[in-house]
Amino acid sequence: MPSDPQTTSLNSPAFEFKSGVVTIPVLKLFSTDITAITQQLHEKIKQAPDFFTNSALLIDLQGVAKQEPNLALLVDAIRNAGMFPIGVRGATKEQQKIANELMLPGLSAYSSSKPQIVTKKETRLTSVAEQPEKTATTDIETTIITQPIRSGQRIYAKGDLIIIAQVSAGAEIMAEGNIHVYATLRGRVLAGVQGNENARIFCSDLQAELVSIAGNYRISEDITDPERNKPVQIYLNKQAIIIQTL
């Protein structure tokens, strides 16, 4: 595995690094009893041989981290059952060392045991990877509202906020992410309230009392006529609220 893709950059590329998402079966261990595992594994495979035979498999050690499973025996058992273990996750340092000796890389687990050497390469790869990969893994909560937001109502969304109805004067809508209003926007609208300066506001008819992004705001009086009653997007440029008609 070449560690530095940059060296090939002068010539025509012989390959490229891509980040991809593959679904593979994960073997989550609850026990370290190899005989029991072997027996149950064979039973499972019998139920769907086409699915399991020659399939890649990830070994998840999180459930048995404290029980010191015999990895070598386990890998043998899995190979004998006709599957290819391709890595472990949730391993302790010692377990990971053994796994590496068995040519099994550690893949990032969702908790505890810090990944080392092998996973460092992983992180470098992901930093090369495109943005979509990241957004696919981070939790973005989107709130969708289809009812009109009436005067006096307050809405707070942790992620993005999409409203497919009007927002009345005297209402207040806030989101830590972007805000979309696909109708008349008359109330106060605050995007990026936790300081996200990249947050934007979109609406199909701007009549807002106040627009704000990451604490920077413009009141209704400062919204000019060419921007008013128009479909617009609102974003931040060097601490200045920019309203752009769409």
Binding site: Q147, P148, I149, R150, S151, G152, A169, A171, T184
Partner: protein
């Protein structure tokens, strides 16, 4: 099961009680057994508008406190035997109303009545909240001016979030707009919001436009619901509203200025 209608607005003086009396009488006249409840405890008015103020013995609060039965407190209208009035108490305040008590009374009324009209007090406090809490339908009475429209909008927000239906995640309250004290002449002069303006702000199903009319004040003073004055524009407008509520498709009237003929211009009677 009865259908519970709340007549509400947020703002005061827009015509809630007039509307409650008219709608209740209209539904009763159609043959539906209808009860109308005055939730404006301490500022009792509905009995005056319906002309039964001299027959009040027990009231809403008495029934809530179980000092009287529902049958003792309900007043039967003299003009229409399908209409019953539950008057408010004049000597108490809104704190005398309890959620459980109101719920119990509405449930009991639901057994025998087809429609229950709740006349909400102004404001967004206890009285108004309890009036709308159990409602199935809401008649939002709005005057064509900005303050009233905004208060109605606020009330609509409360209807959609604090009612029993909202709390239980049931089908939301059906909301209808009643635009009252409408004067097409002043709309034309730009002194008043038009139907379109109000609709644009509230985006609500318009059930009817009630024109500003002298007949309303006359009716109130004489204790006859204006809907019984079938020659008046306001009375006809309420008749239309009841028909539309019951599912009839009727064109809206009184929205545009009446074109007066030569004689009308010569003899301006009204």
């Amino acid at each position: 099961m009865a259908r519970i209608i709340v007549v509400t607005s947020g703002k005061g003086g827009v015509g809630k009680t007039t509307t409650s009396a008219a709608i209740a009488m209209g539904l009763a006249k159609k043959g539906f057994k209808t009860a109308v409840i005055d939730f404006d405890v301490g500022l009792r008015n509905l009995d005056l508008i319906l002309g039964c103020e001299r027959r009040v013995v027990y009231d809403f609060v008495n029934v809530i406190n179980e000092e009287a039965t529902l049958n003792q407190a309900l007043i039967k209208d003299k003009r229409c035997n399908q209409l019953f009035i539950l008057p408010a108490s004049q000597t108490r305040d809104k704190d005398a109303l309890t959620k459980e008590g109101v719920g119990r009374i509405l449930e009991e009324l639901s057994k025998t009545f087809k429609y229950i009209v709740c006349d909400s007090p102004a404001g967004i406090e206890r009285g108004a909240n309890l009036a709308m809490y159990y409602a199935d339908d809401a008649f939002v009475v709005t005057n064509p001016e900005v303050a009233s429209v905004r208060d109605s909008d606020r009330m609509l927000g409360i209807l959609s979030s604090k009612s029993k239906r909202a709390e239980n995640g049931e089908e939301p309250i059906k909301e209808y707009l009643l635009l009252s004290r409408y004067d097409p002449k002043r709309v034309k002069l730009g002194e008043m919001l038009s139907v379109e303006d109000v609709q644009d702000i509230l985006s609500l199903h318009l059930l009817g436009v009630i024109p500003e009319s002298k007949s309303v004040l006359n009716a109130s003073n004489s204790g006859v619901p204006v809907i019984l004055d079938e020659t008046s524009d306001a009375g006809q407008s309420y008749l239309d509203i009841v028909d539309r509520y019951l599912g009839e498709d009727k064109p809206h009237r009184f929205v545009d200025e009446e074109k007066k003929g030569l004689f009308g211009r010569l003899f301006r009677s009204k």
